[in-house]
Amino acid sequence: MIWRTTRLILVNEFRLLLHDRAALFMMFLAPVVIIAVAGFSLGNLYGVRPDRGGYVVALLDQDHGVVARTVRDALSRAPSIRVRVVSSLAQARQLIINDDRAPLALVIPAGTSAAFAAGGKPAIELYVDPLKRLQAAEIQAQLVQIGRHLQIAAQARAQHQLDLQSTALRAHLEQLAAGARTASSQADAYVRELKAAQKQARSRAQNAIRRRLSALRSRTQAAIDRSVAETKTALAAELGARQGAIAALTQYLRALQRSQAEFQSWLDRLKQLAGAHADQIPPPPTWPTAPTAAQLAILSAPIKITAATPVLPPIDDSFNLPAMPIKLPPPTQTPALSDLVPTVTTLPGTVGWNTRSLVPGRPQVNSFDQYVPGFGITFLLIDMLWGVGVGLIDEREWGTLQRLRAGGAPVPGLMLGKLSARLLIGTFQMVVLFGVGWLLFGISLGPAPAMLLVPAAAIAFAAGSFGLLIACVARTRDAVLPVGSVVAMAMSAIGGCWWPLGFEPAWMRAVAMWMPTTWTMRAFNDLMIRGLPPSSALIPGVFTFALGLGYLIIGLIGTVRFYD
């Protein structure tokens, strides 16, 4: 009975769907409309505009130089930018205000190219409409890239010139080095000759000096000898004359000594004669002490002078001649050519980046690669909310559920039939959306398009179970729609259906791991955007299915409790 019920309810669900134009609209047309709106509106978030219009950039060229030309050419090549040359800032302002697609104006001041060529740091001025800050930021990112390319090109040109100059310098230095080596050799020979000449001159000088000193020594000795002899003679004559005077003096002194003795004797007699008046006699003047005879004899002794031959210091004939006052420096070492050529022969480079896909997929993402599966999942959840959640409540309120059960249809069979139908319908819905996305928006279906069925079927199952769960939580039509819609949209948003998961804070990403939308989007992204092999969808598919199974178990328990 359960299988018969399942089969009949499954067919009936399809029949109900075919009669329900609103549901068909919600399943197939509404998602395409929303996907188109989101894809065209937010396509720039992914770097590539799906339409041909793109942003308009007002360009005011006051430079008319290479920088301006380069910037203009680069902007013109950008797929999402159209350049509109303006003649004044006022015209640029007018354009930006009136054109929704024009977020900024680019002013290249006069002299920019010259300053740039001279190694200066000229600045290009950006006038941004604050209202279009997001669009402007995207263009600014492209301008940074253009600026980098400009710098790289200029550096390449400078590097080329530097290389040429370096080569010429190297050749010139090589010539100079060769000349220097010749000069060095000549200097070495000169030095050697000079040293020999120096040695010879020193030897000759020493011999001449030695001879002259010898002659000088002889003449000096003779002169000394003569002088000594003459001195001795003169001294002897002088001493002879003085010897007579001294003898006379000696006689006088001796006579004086006798007179002194006689005076003393006279004095003593006198004192005697004076008797009592002797004390009144004043003392006589003291006689000077006469030199002794020995002393006087010395004065008269003859002077003996022995004239010694003065000894002249020996003449050192071995002294060296002083070094030559002008000494040549040692021969200069010829520097290595690598020392002469500047070691810095290249300009410092710029750190840039090349964008390549880490995975087999394209590095440039079509925004619809994100929005077709993303909004497809969102609408799948909402459609399941209608199809399963609201459908179950409707059947209860219509009384068909009661009639079906009274007719012998078991609730598990009913639920199985409904969910099976919704699984097929949901999978078909995703297939249709992917087909439309491929035809209209050029989305990538990855290396194995058939493998997209795995996450599509898994999310269809999980979404159906989600609808059942919401029907058991909310339990009235009035509650199912608001509660279910909020939960479905939150699951879509947090699960990365509307924007990349990486935009979200860590806690939200942790929450997202418990949502089937997250795993399904991961599978779709891996297959469509990253171009990973089909097996990459299996694990996310299993997680999606497991979460859906959890919803189903809770939903079935709730269904039996509230609807049986």
Partner: protein, 312 residues
């Protein structure tokens, strides 16, 4: 065909059914009456096997409801109070679904559906979407869905709510014909006249209990209702002019001195009463009311409003 004994059911602390017992024989049409919240729908839900009783036994077509639900369901038709139809499907698609669920193959389903549509007068509207049918047609289709597998027991829960007189007539005739063909019918409604027209017996329940059961006449008699006569005089009659008549009493104090309502023991005395009234004053208008099921209902269940809804 239907034997209910000591049926009991509670929702939490609230006792909805308490020792309910009744039976419906083949070909018998039994009216199940009761005010709102009395337990009618709960009883029907139990009999329709969508709700399990807490106590008591139910046997339908000889099968025990507790153990042989599948067999019972195959022999049971339910017309729920709400329109148990898929509004986006056609009348035929609705019927086919329920016929197939009852075990009919595609060929059998087509035949049975055609018969059921013909029976309720919708043969010409088989391909019309249910949402576009009139209220009366929907009610008839609702009945057809319960008949499509030709059940031995038919449970009807207010099948004529909001229908036009013609559709109502058709539905009642169909139900009567089913009774004549041997189907046991349990008819649950608030329309007393329908019960009086269709049903052989009545089971009156209130507060989850059977307060009366029997034929309409038996219930009227059980309620003790007496005939009434209402008289309007040109001028106020003498006070208590009816006191000379035996077993006659004024029912309620007259709102006006010209107006008198009297209750008496037998319709055979109407002539006597009129003669005495003419003697008391000039009678402008009179009406005689014979006691009916509605009177019995009010007498047995009281006049207190029942605003609460039944659960289950």
């Amino acid at each position: 065909m239907v034997q209910v004994t000591g049926l009991g059911k509670s929702f939490g602390a609230r006792r909805v059914l308490d020792q309910v017992s009744f039976s419906v024989q083949p070909g018998e049409l039994v009216g199940l009456l009761g005010p709102n919240g009395a337990g009618k729908t709960t009883t029907l839900s139990i009999l329709a096997t969508v709700l399990a009783p807490d106590e008591g036994t139910v046997r339908i077509a000889g099968f025990d409801l507790a153990r042989e639900r599948t067999a019972i369901r195959a022999r049971l038709g339910l017309v729920p109070q709400s329109l148990a139809l898929y509004p986006s499907l056609t009348a035929l698609e609705n019927l086919v679904l329920f016929a197939r669920l009852r075990g009919a193959n595609a060929h059998q389903a087509r035949r049975l559906c055609a018969e059921a549509l013909d029976e309720v007068g919708l043969a010409d509207h088989a391909q019309r979407t249910v949402g576009l049918l009139s209220g009366g047609m929907k009610r008839r289709l609702n009945l057809a869905c319960a008949l499509v597998h030709q059940p031995q027991v038919l449970l009807l829960d207010e099948p004529t709510v909001g229908v036009d007189p013609q559709s109502r007539e058709r539905i009642l005739n169909t139900v009567k014909e089913l009774g004549h063909s041997g189907t046991a019918v349990l008819y649950c409604t608030h329309y007393m006249d329908e019960v009086e027209r269709v049903c052989n017996r009545v089971v009156l329940i209130d507060h989850g209990r059977v307060v009366a059961a029997g034929t309409v006449a038996e219930l009227v008699g059980l309620a003790g209702g007496r005939p009434r006569i209402e008289l309007y005089f040109q001028t106020p009659p003498p006070s208590r002019w009816y006191l000379e008549l035996s077993r006659v009493s004024e029912l309620t104090p007259s709102p006006s001195p010209n107006h008198t309502v009297l209750e008496f023991d037998s319709l055979t005395r109407v002539h006597e009463l009129l003669r005495r009234a003419q003697a008391a004053g000039s009678v402008l208008e009179f009406s005689v009311h014979s006691p009916n099921l509605s009177d019995a209902f009010m007498a047995l269940t009281g006049h207190r409003l029942r605003d609460e809804h039944e659960s289950g």
